[in-house]
Amino acid sequence: MPQSNWDKSIEDFCSSEKEIQELQEVASLLCGMQKAQSSPLFRDNLKARLMEKAEEEGSATAGKNSRLFKLKTLLFKKNSLLGSPVFSAAAVVLLIVAVTFFYNQSPTVDNPEIANPPGHQAPETYISSSNRHYEEGQFQGQFPESGNAYIPPGEGENGDQPSINDPVKEVPGNQEGLAPEDPEAPEGPEETAPETGTETGTLNPESAGPAGPGKPGNGEENTLKEEPEFEAWKNGKVLALGGKVKPASVYYSVKKEDNPEPADNTRCTWEPRKYLSSAPGEGGTIGTETWAKEILLNEGFMVKSADQLQVNPQETQKGIYAEIIYKERKSGEQSPALILLCGEKEGILSYYYQEQGGYAEPGFYRLLSPAQAFKNVKDLQWYTPQQRMSFSFQEVSLTYHEFEVEENDGKKTITLPAYCYVGTPLSNGDAFKVYVPAI
């Protein structure tokens, strides 16, 4: 240990020379502990993202400074024209008030949601194909009379959900209108430029007029679409498997090499941490980032500031709807973008993910909700130190994972979108993860 790292003052606490020496040994051990190093990929990626954010903030600051400079110049000019000190002092006060007011009202603020004037769509850059989401809406869902639940397209009248154990299905795919990802599109929800959305009548709720979000004036009703239009609904597909997914084995606190006995009666519960009310209309204004984060957190997705989050609200005659596009930041790992379609009255309407083409044809694919997919956890083969253990899972993330699929011609390993649940045994213990197909 470098001598400079040892604090002589600590020796005052020691009872003997021997103790001083012993503590020096431990301090030396700590000093010599090898330092943790991150992957260069993560370090560089994070730096790039931070610099992108910094550039945005820098340009916003420059804009503010420029306006302030002009106003200060104006103030001085005005002051020189006024000979009377009393009058000029009053003028200065008035101008300061005006400057403050002007400054506070400035549309160039960090939050693009606030910056967007009414009638302008929320920024979209995160997934370039989403720029088309509202261009030519062909709503395919069915809206029953008010009070009834919405039936998304492709679910059929009985509302069947696709299951991992479904037999082989040929799924119609409509690739038209799906653009490959624009390589020049900036990443992240922050790196956005306002885009006009007058064609579709989209509305930024935070900049809504006195009528408030979802309550347009009488003269505006005719310009609103009757129903929401989401690209995922238009072109959404179901990912079908050529066989049955073989349930994975979960080894908790036992080693596979020891050939443990399978555990019976393992009980698992899915209890996502609720942060705030998820009731529609109670959790912040629909279409805002705060609202989207709350929806995701209540579903068990741990949204972090480094993650990519985009919210695309649209106002219709039936109310306000929003598309949440969420992609978790994972270094060195390709995680799919989760897409939630929500309505202000209905809450979450459907789950999709956007496949970029790495594991299936590019496009939007239906997903089970985390709660629905969690039912398949019971199919997992559990190996635990004791029988009848209970586990509680609170967090989930969407990822890709390899699963074994039993097909007619044998077993195959395929990569599927999967929910990764993080949980712990109720009797306390180490946290661990289980993966379940999300389709």
Binding site: M1, N5, D7, S9, I10, D12, F13, C14, E19, Q21, E22, L23, E25, V26, A27, S28, L29, L30, C31, G32, M33, Q34, K35, A36, Q37, S38, F42, R43, L46, K47, L50, M51, K53, A54, E55, E57, G58, T61, A62, R273, M302, K304, S305, A306, R329, K330, S331, E395, V422, T424, D430, A431, F432, K433
Partner: protein, 186 residues
């Protein structure tokens, strides 16, 4: 120009234009990463918390003021708060099973006679059994090489309290390593 003054200049520039944050990131990234990893023992979680730390630092750098604390203190405080928030949420601590390399001591010292074959993971586990303040004091002092005064600012304690934390932390760690009960830790 002394290091502290130079850092002040860099921070001032970053406060005027966030793009100038890059040198601060380059300098502090390995330190913050190491500090957080030693607290949470999990690469993925560390990456998340490191990201959060730097995003918060960038977002709030204009609010930072040179008073009684250095930029390093401010940054480590953000990092520490991220870790505290994480544990408050009772998020899991998932040990990386593939990151338990053996510590290679480059200097032969008397510690090798008593505490030998301690892997990095074992040492971290033993540290993990200490109180959070003791952990912070030891890691910030002996891994991050901060001054006691700086640690006092980060922990919100006086210097005497930090010295006491260091003493008690070292003594507890000594007992745990001697007894080999770090396996039962965490």
């Amino acid at each position: 120009m002394p290091m502290e003054e130079r850092e002040q200049e860099i921070v001032s520039r970053a406060q005027l234009n966030p793009v100038s944050f890059a040198p601060l990131y380059d300098h502090y990234f390995p330190k913050i990463y190491n500090y957080i990893y030693n607290k949470v023992h999990n690469s993925q979680l560390t990456e998340d918390l490191v990201s959060e730390t730097f995003y918060k630092a960038l977002a709030n750098i204009k609010k930072f003021q040179w008073q009684d604390r250095s930029f390093a203190c401010w940054l480590y405080t953000i990092a520490r708060n991220q870790v505290i928030d994480q544990f408050r949420k009772q998020d899991p601590v998932l040990f990386d099973s593939d990151n338990n390399e053996i510590i290679v001591e480059t200097e032969s010292g008397p510690e090798e006679k008593v505490i030998r074959d301690v892997t990095r993971e074992e040492l971290l586990k033993a540290i993990g059994t200490l109180s959070p303040d003791q952990q912070d004091a030891l890691l910030l002092r002996y891994q991050e090489e901060l001054k006691i005064k700086e640690i006092a600012v980060i922990l919100g304690k006086n210097e005497g309290a930090v010295k006491a934390l260091l003493f008690r932390g070292l003594r507890s760690l000594r007992k745990k390593l001697e007894g080999g009960d770090f396996d039962a830790a965490v």
